[in-house]
C-alpha cells in the first residue's frame, strides 16, 4: 500500500493554493489526509501534485455572526466537536464531528475534507444538508456560494470544479432559535474505526416548549448512506410539521422516507435492511430532536 510518486507543495495562503492549482495539472488538495491517504496508498488516487492545505492558517476558524456561523475548511473535527459556539447554536454539527473515528483522526481530519470527499456515508454532508448550509467555493475568479442542496451532485462528486477549492461552510442559525430547537444525529455503527452503515440527522423547532404537546413548526430530516448523495426528505419533514409529533405523523414520515431512500447493497447492510432502517431512524431522530427541543 504505497502511493505513486508526486510532487509536494505546501502553500500558506488561499491565493497561493489557487495559483498552484492553476499551474499544475493533476493536482489534488490534501487537508487532514484521513481519506485521501487511503486512496493514494491504494493507488486509487494518483495525483501528480499534492497541494497541502495545512499551512493555510486562514482556513481554520469558527466565526459566529449574527444569524449564522461560518466554519473554515481547515477547521478540524476536534475543533468543531469542542467549539462552544457550535455546540450552542448547531450542536448537531459538534455531535457529528465527535462521532468520527477517535481522537487522533479528529486531531487532523477537517470539515473541508469531509465535504470535499463527499462520501455518501459521511457525517458532515448529511448534517450540513439538514442545516441547509452554504458552501463557499474559491478559485482565481473569486468566491462563489453554493447551497448544499446543489453541492453534492453524484456519488462522491461535488460542485467543486477544476482549480476550485472549498474555503468554508456557512450555517444559518436563525431557523434554530435556542430554547425551542432540538437536534439529533444517530448512527448505525458497530465500531469507531468504520463509517456508519446509516446515519440520520433530525432537527425540530417547536412553537413553545412550555405548552402541552408543542407543535412542530419546522423539521429537518436527512440521511447518510441511504443514497448516493446526502438524502433530505422534505415530504417527511412536512408530514410532521404542524403536528405535535404524533405517532401517526411519525409513521407517515417514516413511510415517506423509506420510499425516498435508494441505498446500495453492502456487506452486513443490504439495501432492504437500510431502507427499513431509514424508517426506524426517521422516528428515532425526530423523536429525539423533539424531546430535546422540549427539554431545555
Amino acid at each position: 500500500m504505497k502511493s505513486e510518486p508526486f510532487v509536494y507543495h505546501s502553500p500558506s495562503s488561499v491565493e497561493e493554493v489557487v495559483s498552484l492549482m492553476n499551474e499544475h495539472d493533476h493536482a489534488e488538495l490534501v487537508a487532514g489526509n484521513q481519506s485521501l491517504a487511503i486512496q493514494m496508498n491504494n493507488r486509487l488516487a494518483t495525483p501528480d501534485h499534492l497541494i497541502d492545505l495545512n499551512g493555510v492558517d486562514e482556513l481554520a476558524y469558527v466565526d459566529e455572526r449574527d444569524g449564522e456561523i461560518e466554519i473554515g475548511a481547515m477547521t478540524t473535527h476536534k475543533t468543531i466537536a469542542n467549539s462552544d459556539a457550535i455546540d450552542r447554536t448547531v450542536p448537531i454539527l459538534a455531535e457529528a464531528a465527535q462521532q468520527i473515528a477517535g481522537p487522533s483522526v479528529r486531531n487532523v481530519g477537517t470539515l473541508g475534507g469531509g465535504i470535499g470527499e463527499a462520501d455518501p456515508a459521511g457525517n458532515y454532508p448529511t448534517v450540513l444538508t439538514a442545516l441547509d448550509a452554504t458552501i463557499t467555493i474559491t478559485s482565481e475568479s473569486g468566491d462563489r456560494d453554493v447551497g448544499v442542496d446543489e453541492f453534492f451532485i453524484a456519488y462522491m462528486m461535488t460542485e467543486v470544479g477544476e482549480n476550485e477549492m472549498i474555503t468554508g461552510a456557512t450555517v444559518p442559525t436563525d431557523p434554530f432559535p435556542i430554547g425551542r430547537t432540538g437536534m439529533s444525529f444517530l448512527e448505525l455503527k458497530r465500531v469507531p474505526h468504520t463509517w456508519p452503515k446509516l446515519s440520520a440527522a433530525g432537527i425540530v423547532r417547536v412553537d413553545d416548549p412550555t405548552r402541552d404537546d408543542p407543535t412542530v413548526e419546522e423539521a429537518r430530516l436527512t440521511f447518510a448512506n441511504a443514497s448516493d448523495t446526502p438524502l433530505r426528505v422534505e415530504a417527511a419533514e412536512s408530514a410532521v410539521e404542524g403536528t405535535s409529533l404524533t405517532d401517526d405523523a411519525l409513521e407517515e414520515a417514516a413511510e415517506i422516507a423509506m420510499d425516498s431512500a435508494d441505498p446500495a447493497d453492502e456487506m452486513q447492510a443490504e439495501a432492504e435492511y437500510k431502507e427499513e432502517q431509514v424508517g426506524i431512524f426517521t422516528k428515532r431522530a425526530l423523536r429525539e430532536a423533539y424531546d430535546r427541543a422540549l427539554d431545555q
Partner: protein
Amino acid sequence: MSQAEESKAERVKEVEDHISNQPTPQNYVGSEVRRKEDEKILKDHREYVQDRNPPDALHAAYVRSPHAHAEITDIDTSAAEEHDECKLVMTVDDYRDAGYAPMLCGIQEWAEWPLADGKVTYVGQCVAMVVATDRYVAEDIADLVEVEYERLDPLVDVMEARDSDNVLYPEMGPNAPSNVAFDETFELGDPDGVFEEADHVIEKEFDWESRASGVPLETPSALGTCNMNPEDGEEKFHVWSNQQLHTWADVAIYAALDQPREEVRVEVPLTAGGSYGTKHATVYRHAVLTAVASEMVGGNPVKYVEDRIEDLQGGDSASTDRHYKAKIAFNDDGEILANDFWLADNFGAFPRFICTNQVLKPLAIVNGPYDVEHARYEYEIVCTNKMPQTSYRGFGTPAHSWVWEMLMDEAADVLDMDPTEIRLKNYIDEEDMPYKTPSANVYGEGDYAKTVRKVWDLVEDEKDGGLLDPDRVEELREEGIYRGSGSALVLEPGLGCYDYHTRQFIPRDELATYYTPENRDFSDVVTMAEPLEAYIRTDGKVVVKISSDDQGQGHQTIASQMLADELGITPDDVVVPQQDNLDVASDVGSASSRMATVMSSAAIGLGEKLRGQLEELAADHWGIDTEQVEFDEGGVKQLSTEGVEPVDKRHAERLEQEFLTLTELVHIDKMMETGDSHFKPQAELKTYAYYEYPDVAYENREYFEEAMIRKRPTYPSISFAANVPIVDVDVETGEIEIQKIYSVRDSGRIINPMIVEGQHHGGIMQGIGAALQEEFGYSEDGQPQSTTFFDMMLPSIENLPELEIEKQETWSVFSKSGAKGVGETGIMDIPASLAHSVNDALKPLDVTVEEMPMTPNRVRSWIRDAGDAPAPADD
C-alpha cells in the same frame, strides 16, 4: 472407589506430592509474576520481524489476481524488467525451472505452487513476485507486469461447489474430479438405531460462514537470505519470519525449497505480533519466496511485509466457513440420545496443510459436554474461489459447540423445558470422569453441572433490582429492547495429538479399515514430545531452551517461573533465549494450547532430572553418598558426612563448605575450580539436562489407546467455561448489545493468574467479534468484501462489555503439572454462549439463531421472517 476414580485420585495426588515433596518452595508458580517480555518491548529493544532492515536488503511486492477464477493466458514481464530499479520478476515458471517444489497441502495428491500456475482461483492470489530497491518502487514495478486473464465462472457457495461440474482442480485429490477435496463419515455407536427409536428427532441447518479468524495486528512477513557461498556448516538459506510453529512447520519451508532441514535456518523473533493460530499457514509462502528471490538476485536479503489489504483479501487469513445439517435425538424426559452432524466446510481455493484438520478436531468433543453415546460425524472439505483457510484459535470447534447449543435450545423448546434444565440433565456426571466419548477421546475431569450452578449463583443478584429484574426486563421489552440470558457450558479441548494430523493423507477409501486395531499397532502411533533443555551458566544463571514460539503468550515468563521454582532461584536467574529451528529439538510449538501445559510439565521433569544430577555432582565432589546430600534453594547442601574420612587436606576443605551454589557447581562440573579446566562436552556435564515430556495422550495410554490407533483426534486437556451473557437485542435495528458476561472458567492448574486472565480477556473479545461482527464476506462473483479494517470490524474498545470472571481450578488428571490449555479460551465458548442468550431474548418472537455472525442485518431478517409475531403468551 471405581477404578477410574482411583486413578484420578492418584493423579491429583501425584501432582500435589510433587509440590509438597519438592525441596524448593513454590514461590512463583501460581502467582502473578510480572512478564519478562514487557520491558524489552516497551523500550523497543525487542525486534519484531518487520524491524530488521539489513542495509543490502531488497524489497518484494506481489502481482496479485484481481479475479476469483480465471485462466492466465499471458504474463508479460518485459516492461517491468526494463525498469531501472527492477531486480527480479519471478513467475511460477521461474520458480519451477529453478528446481523448487510446490507447497504442502493438507490432502493427499494435492499441491499448491506458491505463485499461480496457469490459472488463478481466488482474488489476491500471488501471480508474480517483484523485487526492487524499496517497497514503493517494487509496487511501481508490479503495476508494470501485464497479466492477461480469461475469466471463468467463480464458485463461492459451498453447497453449489460440492456438486458443480465447474471443478477448480479437476486433476487433484482422491475424489478427482470434484470440488470435494476430501470427505469422511464416522459412525460412532449405533446412531441410526437410536434415531429410529427416539421420542423426538430435530434436524436443522446452520451457517457459520463468517470465516472469522485471528487477524493479528502484525501481518505475515519474511526476510529471506540465500548464502551463495556457504562455508561448511553454514546453511544455504536463512529465513527470518513470523512463522508460527517454526521448529515443526519449518517443513513447509524446507520442503518447498527442496532442501534438507539442515540447510534452512528459520529464525523467529522472541515475540511475534500476535497469531492466534493463523501464522502457521499464512507465512510460509513468503518465507519460501523471499528465500528463492534472494538466490535469484545473487544473495541480497529480500524482505516482504504483507500489507493489510493483501492480507484480508488474499492472505490465506480467513478461517472456518461451514454449512451444517445437524440432528439430535432425544426422549420425552429430555435425555439426549444421539447426534448426527453433517458439515461442508468451504476451504477456499486450497486445502492448506494442517488447516484441514480443523474439520477433524470437533470429533474429539463430538458429544459436547453431554453424555451422549451415539453419534455420526460427517464432513466434506470443499474447494471454492474464496481464499484458502488458515487455522485459528479453537481449530474448528467454535462452530461445532455453537451448533450443539442451538440444538439444545431447540430441544428445550420442543419439550417446553427450561434450557438450563435440559442441559443440567445431560451434562456428563463428574462421577463418570474420566469419560470416554463416542469417538474414544477422554475427558479427564470436571464437574460441569456444578460449574453451571456456580455461574448462576453469581448472576443471582441481577434478578432482584439488577439487569435481570423481571420488571426491568418487561419495561425494556416495551421499548423494543429484548433482554436475554442463559447459561451455556462449552468445552475447550487442547493438546491435540500429533498422529491424527496426517489422517487425510491416506487413500480415502481405505480410511475405514486402515486405522483399526487389526491393522495398526499402538507403536505405529506417531507422537510428539515436548523437549526442554537447560544448562547452568558459569555465573549460576540457568539457560532454558524452549522449542515453541511466542506470539504474546508469555513463554519466557512461564518458563522462568517454572524453572525458578524447580531450582529455588528467581525468574531473573533464568535466561530464555530465542531459538532457531536448528538450535533446538522439534516441537509442535504454540498450538492447541500446548505451551503452558506441556512446557510446565516438561519443566517439572527437567527440574527433577537436573536436581538429581546436581546432587550426584555435589556428592561426588564431597566424596560422599548421594543420600547424604540434598538439593536446596539454589544449590546442594550437605546433610551429613557420617562415615567419611577426608583423604587429604583439599578434601577436608571441600567438606567444610557445606553448601554449593549453582555457580560453584558449574565450576566444579567444568573443573574450573581446580584450575585445570578442560571443558567437558555438554552431554557429559551434570549441569546440563535434556528432557522430553511425552505426548500427554501417549503417556496416558490406558485411556487414549483406542482413539490413537484409530488415528482420531485425542485432546486430553479439556478446559471449560460456563457463561451467562446478558444481552440486549434492539428488535427494530437488530443491534445486539452485551450488558455483561458472567463467566466461570476452568483451565486446570494456573501457573500465572495474570497471564491466564489476559488470555481469557483476549479470547472473550475475539469470541464477541466472531459472534457479532467479524466477517470475511464475498460477493457472488467472488470478490472479497472485507479488505480493510473499515469492513473487517475487529472489536474495538467500545465493544468491551462488563466482564465478571471467576477462575476455577480443576487440575488435569492427565498432564504432569495439572495445567490445562488456556490458549484458545473465549473464542471457543463465547459465540455459542452469546447465541444462546440471544435465543432467550428473542424467544417471544419465535426467532432462533441459525447463522453467524449475528449482525444487525441478519437479526432483523430473522425477525422479519418470523413476521414480527407477537409473543405467544409468556408465563
